[in-house]
């Protein structure tokens, strides 16, 4: 293959995102002999701190500084990358809210192939990569071939590759800010509006009764509140419940919601998308109840019950109340 691989480093407040150490692992799996460079965009002292930290992991760090890059606006970052990266570059980007903004358009501007939300690499033969993705919310997986002969932009799912914490790379930091070019864009970042705090802080809950699409109707929420009351737990939920406005956003577990660290997590009628699972930390004891025996949640749960939650949970609540 012998192409150069570039890893886009997400960072905030002077600290690199966890994905930074995952992307070097992914790059090495792609090509153990490739030259792997970290690309860090930003501004000020925070940028320098991140560059220095990344030089411990990556043999080369490309620093791109500028006032317009102080907040990661994908439209601005894309312009800078197009001006700086070589034509046949392989670019690895974390598949988060920023990566989804950046990757597809970047691949068009670099005239490179694109692959989204990759969870693994199977093999590389010549310029053809075989990668693993998931479809239908993780219900099935696929092998996908990617022609990388004219470069590639690959969005990598956070957490899919193990972090490489080896360090000691002794890398150099190269300042390419001068090559970034005109960074004027028709999209302007204004501000981040922080998530509203709800009546219950589920990030502090030790036991969560979490409900998903399987509850079917808003009126059924009380069935699960009764279970939570019997257990001394709080009720949380997956995204569809918030989309339907049945519960407040502050009750949503997942990457676009809250990150929770309970001891025990009951996933009831939740299929288990990676965005949902990304919000569950601290290795809790997970109980999944779902009528679909193939739901991805059963792959990560400790204990599973294949049943309709609307039949099963009232009986469970009755038994717990009798204790």
């Amino acid at each position: 293959m012998a192409k150069s691989i570039y890893a886009y480093i997400a960072h905030k407040a002077g600290a690199a995102d966890d994905s930074a150490l995952e992307l070097i692992q992914a790059a090495q799996q792609l090509d153990a002999d490739a030259k792997v460079s970290a690309v860090v965009t930003g501004d000020g002292a925070d940028l320098d701190t991140v560059c220095t930290a990344m030089a411990d992991t990556y043999p080369e760090v490309i620093k791109i500084a500028g006032g317009a890059l102080a907040y990661p606006n994908a439209e601005v970052v894309r312009k800078a990358l197009v001006n700086i990266l070589p034509a046949d570059a392989i670019v690895l980007i974390p598949h988060d809210s920023f990566g989804m903004d950046l990757g597809p358009g970047l691949s068009v501007k670099l005239d490179a192939a694109f692959l989204s939300d990759v969870v693994g690499f199977d093999k590389v033969e010549g310029d053809t990569l075989t990668a693993v993705r998931q479809e239908y919310g993780g219900q099935v997986s696929t092998h996908v071939s990617l022609d990388m002969s004219q470069g590639a932009v690959i969005n990598v799912r956070p957490g899919a590759f193990a972090a490489d914490e080896t360090g000691g790379a002794g890398g150099s930091v190269t300042d390419k800010s001068g090559d970034a070019g005109d960074l004027a864009t028709a999209r302007k970042y204004l501000e981040v509006v922080a998530a509203e705090v709800g009546d219950v802080d589920i990030t502090k809950s030790e036991v969560l009764v979490s409900v998903g699409r399987g509850i079917e109707d808003e009126d059924n929420l009380e069935v699960f509140q009764e279970l939570a009351d019997a257990m001394g737990a709080d009720v949380s939920c997956s995204r569809p419940i918030v989309d339907a406005k049945w519960l407040e956003k502050s009750r949503q577990v997942g990457t676009s919601g809250q990150t929770v660290k309970p001891k025990v997590y009951l996933a009831l009628g939740i299929s288990g998308s990676f965005q949902h699972l990304g919000g569950i930390k601290g290795n809790p004891f997970i109980v999944a109840v779902n009528k679909n025996a193939k739901a991805p949640i059963f792959q990560v749960a400790d204990v599973g019950v294949v049943a309709d939650i609307l039949d099963f949970i009232p009986e469970l609540t009755d038994k717990i109340e009798e204790l």
Binding site: V140, V192, G257, Q258, Q299
Partner: protein
């Protein structure tokens, strides 16, 4: 405001269990219930609401086959003014870039102030909107959860970022936005609504009409190709409790007690 919404027809995951077929070449398609992609439905509702406020019209477009016309009709029953089907044998097997290139050709033949897509579809890639914007040289934002006209062809938009936070941006029109679920509450489409648009003629355009090079799209032009479907090894997986409901509940309660799940 003239708005184009790109929609697609997908197996409805709320109605179906998605399974891999015997030789792994596809998912099991017998008896699948199809519907409009959920994200796209939110995008159409948003477009209708904008036009209700600001005037103009909503056109829904899809790249597909005859069967896919039904989702255009459904969205027209919802309130979209026009439908457009982009269909050609040469389009089959297109990757995200192929689909974006076909849509770009359709956009070039119209005059739109705003182009909406769903943030993602059944493949979970979330790629077509960003590619389309880059091909059109228009500004783009993904995961949009609010759209507000702030005058002078500028939209104030909210994007969903990590941790439940919302990133606010100003974006100049024309632009491409990919819409996240939850941005609104899509209206119900009744059987009467569907009947009203049942006989409306929906124009169809092929590669020749659009001026799309058939070799650049479809299987021939795809740099990304799906090779197979498979079910991953379960790893450890969950211990599935079996027995009568009473037995399962007794086992579960013992486990919950042991793990500190009952207070």
């Amino acid at each position: 405001m003239e708005i184009l919404v790109c929609v697609t027809r997908v197996p409805d995951t709320a109605e179906n269990e998605i399974e891999v077929n015997a030789d792994g070449s596809d998912i099991e398609r017998d008896d699948l219930v199809y519907s409009v992609n959920e994200w796209d439905n939110y995008a159409v509702e948003e477009a209708i609401q904008i036009v209700d406020r600001a005037g103009g019209s909503v056109t829904v477009v899809t790249v597909g086959e005859e069967d896919d016309e039904e989702v255009l009709r459904r969205e027209m029953a919802m309130g979209a003014d026009n439908g457009l089907l982009l269909s050609d044998e040469a389009f089959e097997g297109s990757d995200g870039k192929g689909v974006a290139a076909i849509l770009k050709a359709a956009v070039d033949q119209g005059s739109y102030d705003l182009i909406l897509t769903g943030a993602q579809a059944d493949g979970g890639a979330g790629e077509v909107g960003g590619m389309l914007a880059a091909m059109l040289d228009l500004p783009y934002a993904s995961l949009v959860t609010s759209i507000e006209e702030s005058g002078d062809g500028v939209l104030k938009i909210g994007r969903e970022i990590e941790g439940g936070n919302i990133e606010m941006n100003e974006i100049q029109q024309p632009c491409v936005l990919s819409v996240q679920t939850g941005i609104n509450e899509p209206r119900y489409v009744g059987i009467r609504g569907i009947r009203k648009v049942a006989s409306v003629e929906i124009p169809e355009k092929g590669a020749g009409d659009l001026g799309v090079d058939g070799a650049a799209v479809g299987t021939a032009g795809a740099k990304a190709r799906r090779l197979d479907y498979f079910v991953p090894e379960m790893g450890d997986g969950a211990e599935i409790l079996t027995g009568s409901t009473d037995e399962i509940i007794d086992k579960l309660i013992e486990m919950l007690k042991a793990k500190g799940g009952l207070k």
